[in-house]
């Protein structure tokens, strides 16, 4: 039984450093497949997709809204060849109704314990149009190590440097943040994986650098402390979203290898200033994530925010404009006010303005978005700031004996393609 699994490409933001990380959804899905399924995976962001009729069933895994149109296009081509296509992943769930128009089947929810039924239905030529498990999350004891053997690992290197591998220790979130759809995707509860299963997966990963993609590491203090304690002997170095601001948690996180965090910076308060300092006090670097275009931001507010970022010594900053993804409160609010003017999902890349901001024109917000990037990185370019972060982690790895030199044999390649300029 040959299963072709595809991760569609998307257009990266112009002018920004491109990093293709090994995708997480497909490797989690692959781990849940029945044993008799032979999987052939293509990540279109790093390799070309050849569409032919060699597979028995085609799966399309989509994470981003900017992937859905390409995913639909691929599906249409396979279905024209008479192949059945099933969709899954985050943006399949966000765009399920539209995706159904291009699919034999859509899978909604989490895969563990469900794939046997799906493939049995396929063998009986009785696939359901919708497999809906959104309200029935699986027992997280069923979540074993992801199947990263499907990845062509050499394609996730830039100039010989290996990209981080993605990993998750929990699902769901208790919060209902304005631009976020996790409430819809992962449920309103925090669902941590058992620590021993987390350690089992981490122990088997050959990459020392990870991105823990959990929505937050600030939802359950005791679990965080237990997790970090268990991670210390593994000597991994990792990136994550927010870590809880308790000193004992941050201390353990640092010992467990916290490298840098993505921290939302939403205002110029002392709370944010102190939060960044607190991370730094524990040797944890901070990449600020700054969302522009919220209704409480005037042009002056945005400029003041950017000045503030420079004052508080952020290690990196990532600016985005609000993208009202379906199933978020941002989408609901803007929809009610009839302020969304662009429904081309390829434009929902958090760099294009697709709605009418409250205090400025869409064009002006677009200019301020560019101004933010230019101003923050004026004195030290993004690549140099990233280099500084890499140096920090290399020092720590050299100190604890986990350093792996970059691969010279592929130092002239970037994500599998020969480097032809000075990039």
């Amino acid at each position: 039984m040959k299963f072709k699994l595809i991760y569609p490409r998307w257009q990266k933001l112009e002018g920004q450093t491109i990093f293709n990380l090994p995708p997480h959804g497909p490797v989690v899905m692959a781990a849940a497949l029945p044993e008799h399924v032979e999987i052939d995976f293509t990540d279109e962001n790093v390799e070309d997709l050849i569409i032919d009729d060699s597979a028995d069933l085609v799966g399309i895994s989509m994470m981003l809204t900017t992937q859905v149109k390409r995913g639909w296009e691929i599906a249409d081509q396979y279905r024209a060849l008479g192949k059945k296509v099933i969709f899954g992943g985050i943006s399949t769930m966000l765009h399920a109704e539209e995706t159904m128009l291009h699919a034999d089947s859509v899978f909604l929810g989490e895969v563990e314990g469900r794939m046997e039924q799906v493939f049995a239905d396929f063998h009986k030529n009785d696939m359901k149009k919708v497999y809906n498990f959104l309200s029935k999350p699986p027992d997280l004891n069923l979540v074993g190590p992801a199947n990263r053997s499907i990845l062509k690992k050499d394609l996730y290197y830039h100039k010989g440097f290996r990209m981080v591998d993605l990993f998750h220790a929990s699902r769901g979130c208790i919060y209902d943040c304005y631009p976020c759809a996790v409430r819809y995707l992962g449920g309103r509860g925090f669902r941590p994986r058992p620590i021993d299963r987390v350690v089992e997966e981490l122990s088997g990963m050959d990459n020392n650098r990870l991105f823990i993609v959990d929505n937050s590491l600030a939802l359950d203090t005791q679990w965080e402390k237990d997790l970090f304690k268990a991670m210390i002997p593994l000597k991994k170095k990792w990136v994550s979203h927010t870590i809880e601001d308790k000193n004992e948690v941050l201390d353990l996180a640092a010992q467990a290898g916290a490298w840098y965090v993505y921290q939302a910076v939403f205002d110029t308060s002392d709370y944010i200033r102190n939060r960044v300092k607190q991370y730094h006090d524990y040797g944890i670097a901070v990449e600020g994530t700054i969302l522009l275009g919220l209704d409480n931001q005037t042009e002056d507010d945005i400029k003041r925010l950017i000045d503030f970022l420079l004052e508080i010594d952020l290690d990196l900053a990532e600016f985005t404009v609000l993208a009202p993804f379906p199933h978020t409160k941002a989408y609901s609010d803007l929809l009610k006010q009839n302020r969304i003017f662009d429904k081309d999902w390829n434009h929902y890349n958090a760099g294009k303005v697709v709605y009418y901001p409250k205090h400025m024109t869409p064009e002006r917000l677009g200019e301020l978005f560019q101004y933010a990037w230019d101003t923050f990185y004026k004195d030290e370019p993004q690549t140099m700031k990233m280099f500084n972060l890499i140096n920090k982690v290399m020092s720590r790895e050299l100190a604890d004996g986990t350093y792996t030199p970059r691969r010279r044999d592929i130092a002239n390649l970037s994500f599998g393609k020969k480097i032809t300029d000075n990039a």
Partner: protein, 128 residues
């Protein structure tokens, strides 16, 4: 169920409805019969106490269910969507009221259009 006291002024019961993909969902509901005989329905988003789909995302099907449950005819039915003040410092979680108007065919409401109202306007509409 724990409730935020601020919710109670515009809700006197909970209402269950199927959300996206039939996910069990819940909102606050107040049905008021006005002096002119019209039924005024206020559906309140209850955020974390709602296990499923927010009111706004399925407002047409929810309003259809509420209209049927209230026994009101379309011409005598007024629907208001309410989000309560969560006390957050973020402005996105303040109190809002929107009257929602729909197209109507064979007892089914569709094509919602929202019009922002003040609390005072809502109070006045309840008294009319």
């Amino acid at each position: 169920m724990d409730t935020n006291p601020a919710l109670n002024r515009y809700m006197d019961r909970y209402f269950d409805y199927p959300g996206h993909w039939d996910s069990p969902s819940k909102c606050g509901l107040k049905l008021a019969t006005r002096k002119d005989g019209k039924i005024l329905a206020i559906a309140t988003e209850i955020y974390r106490q709602n296990p499923g789909t927010p009111v706004t995302e399925v407002v047409a099907s929810l309003a259809t269910r509420v209209m049927k449950a209230s026994g009101a005819a379309y011409v005598n039915f007024i629907f208001i969507e309410h989000t309560p003040d969560l006390g957050s410092k973020l402005t996105f979680y303040g109190e809002t009221f929107d009257q929602v108007d729909f197209d109507h065919q064979d007892g089914i409401l569709s094509n919602p259009v929202w019009t922002r109202l003040s609390r005072e306007q809502v109070d006045q509409m309840m008294e009319e």
